[in-house]
Subunit: 409 residues, 2 copies
């Protein structure tokens, strides 16, 4: 079998941790497998490099920022290769560029366009463990080094697994897997043994930080099973895969307090209004998440939407400009919100779930500000102060993961 393993920053934070990771890699190799390892930068290295950059230039050019940050994985990959060598196993490390990870030209947020992997395959054929720097690549046009942005190392691992035709991709992190809810909030949250790509995509998009949507998307597209597990123990984690199992009504409950809500009141209810508002948001790279438009009264309507707090100021400026142009009444901002999302593939055939959510929140006197649903997700915006309690009451009410047979619809 060919296995791709990815170790995050906390898993390689110190020489001791790197040695533990090397033990695990060598054990996998000794099990008769070919192993390709993707590493993140050690612990807080990336933050430290960003701090150095800020100290010399508060607004550093993105091209140089990428040159700087890619030093982080270079350090961890070389140290990991050395630690493996010490255990008598041949290993060789490659930068993203050397591994043939080609990207577009978007410094700081590049997308992988192709993985050549020639040197990776050559080294595997020589029986070596191959270490690849996560989070980075090269734009073949300009020959410039790029970084992939948030979740980039996971994306490197899953994309590499796809390109090499790996049998599985193991994502080692500092938690035991994907949980039914955040264990810091819900005491009896349980680890999921398995979750479908589809559900994981919704969980990731709804705030479950363990795996970024982009790597789940790669896994789904190329059907690479992803095993999310801890590098601090040997427990099996959560398999993210194309599932054939009977699916749970609710797999998990995710929450997210990183967004803010904008409401434009008194918008004339005419065709094209939404396009006029959201096209400029898209042009400004503002990631609009939930959008709710109320039923029209008196020929006007209210439009609410959420954006990451980090882009709130810019979004408000754009909204204010458009509101003025369309003679809307006002733009209100609420940054003290939380989004709570139930995700479950079994929901498709269980129409009672939404009603159950609203009842549970009502019984707990939690007011719902916005609602949005997909076929396998129900998200409610509540007050930020109510967020944790909302997760708790919903977890108690739905008790995930419950297999469909066990709960009547």
């Amino acid at each position: 079998m060919l296995i791709v393993q990815k170790y995050g920053g906390t898993s390689v934070a110190s020489p001791e941790r790197i040695s533990a990771v090397a033990d695990r890699i060598c054990a996998t190799k000794a099990g008769g497998h070919d192993v390709v390892v993707v590493v993140s930068a050690m612990g807080k290295t990336t933050d430290e490099l960003i701090a150095l950059a800020s100290a010399v230039n508060p607004d550093p050019p993105a091209r140089e920022m990428d040159m700087l940050l890619t030093a982080g994985e270079r350090i961890s990959m070389a140290l990991t290769a050395m630690a493996i060598h010490r255990r008598g196993v041949e290993a060789v490390s490659f930068t993203g560029s050397q591994a043939g990870i080609l990207t577009d030209a978007a410094h700081g947020a590049a997308k992988i366009t192709e993985i050549r992997g020639t040197r990776v395959r050559e080294s595997l054929a020589e029986g070596k463990v191959v270490i690849v720097a996560g989070f980075q690549g090269v734009d073949p046009e300009s020959r410039e080094i790029t970084t992939l942005g948030r979740g980039g190392s996971d994306a490197t691992a899953v994309a590499l697994a796809a390109a090499l035709g790996a049998d599985a991709c193991e994502i080692f992190t500092d938690v035991d897997g994907v949980f039914t809810a955040d264990p810091r909030i819900v005491a009896d949250a349980r680890k999921l043994d398995e979750v479908s790509f589809e559900e994981m995509l919704e969980l990731s998009a709804s705030g479950a930080g363990v795996l970024m949507s982009r790597s789940v998307e790669f896994g789904r597209r190329f059907n690479i099973p992803i095993h999310v597990r801890s590098s601090f123990n040997d427990n099996p984690g959560t398999w993210v895969k194309e599932t054939t199992m009977e699916q749970a009504v609710i797999s998990g409950i995710a929450h997210d307090t990183s967004e803010a809500k904008l409401t434009i009141r008194g918008v004339p209810d005419t065709p094209g209004i939404a396009a006029r508002l959201f096209e400029p948001m898209a042009s400004a790279d503002i990631n609009v998440d939930m959008i709710v438009q109320n039923t029209s009264t008196d020929g006007t309507t209210d439009i609410s939407f959420t954006v990451p707090k980090s882009t709130l100021a810019e979004a408000r400026d754009i909204a204010a400009e458009i509101a003025e142009a369309m003679e809307a009444r006002s733009v209100d901002v609420d940054s003290a919100i939380g989004k709570v999302s139930l995700v479950g593939a079994g929901m498709k055939s269980h129409p009672g779930v939404a009603a159950g959510v609203f009842r549970a929140l009502a019984d707990a006197s939690i007011n719902i500000g916005m609602i949005s649903t997909s076929t396998i997700r129900i998200s409610c915006v509540v007050a930020e102060a109510d967020t944790e309690r909302a997760v708790q009451v919903l977890h108690e009410r739905f008790d995930p993961p419950n297999i469909s047979q066990e709960v009547g619809a």
Copy 2:
């Protein structure tokens, strides 16, 4: 003019120092010059990376060590480019590989074989300041990243200056230039305004740490004037160049306490003895410096030689083996020695210098253990405890730099 500037580790040790360096670079650029900058790793970065490597593997593979260490200059070069950008000047950083610095395959001690510099020239043509990582290159055969070993960043700078046809190469360091002796030992040591390549080569080889022989050698071969100066002030430093000036009898006095002396006693005085001894030393990469063979008495002789203390144990083992094979009497080791060297191009036409050295040391009751000379250098090995005093009495006696006319021969 095209000027290559090189900044060492202490010159870029912190964001504040990097900002000061950026000011200097921008001032040079504003003076109407094209500027290429070579940087070392920040302060103690290289030492820290070596410590991390030792922690995961006491004997790390050289290939991975080079991957690791090259992260150091990557960080400093990106930060330097950012700091220049902040001052409104366009700058771009390149790794050794990107700058086309080709080397042989000797990881950790690679030699520069060619400098392509295509991207450097392109960026200069676009009016940009170019920052190049010192100390590193790429072996074009294997596509592996290499490091140049000790003094590698200086070598990068001078070789780059030669390849680009630069008008001068400025080596910025933490001292004001090349001194007539170590100012920590000789209170009235003076900075030399100018010294010839030939003399600088002898000074470097004799322990003057400010510039490594290999970069002086590059400067001499391609006739690139090298300006060694401080990055902490604006004082002019020392020009190392093909000098046309009247040359001083003595330019400077260097000393070196990093070597140890081995003596093989009672060696049969037959042809081929020296070869039998020093060939295995060369094979073991032991850098033998001074070699003295006494006149034969009773058909046997004593051979003394010095090696770096770091290779003493290995050298002793080799010497002991050969001594036994050739039935020599004993191998004695003395690691408490110091070497004091007078260097001066004017010495060629002043035969009295050697005698003056011996007289000055005798008057100070300093015993001479070994003597070796070149046309422009006289080196004496003395007891380690006498080394500083030997430098002082010789500096006082010869009072460098004295122009030839001023001292009678």
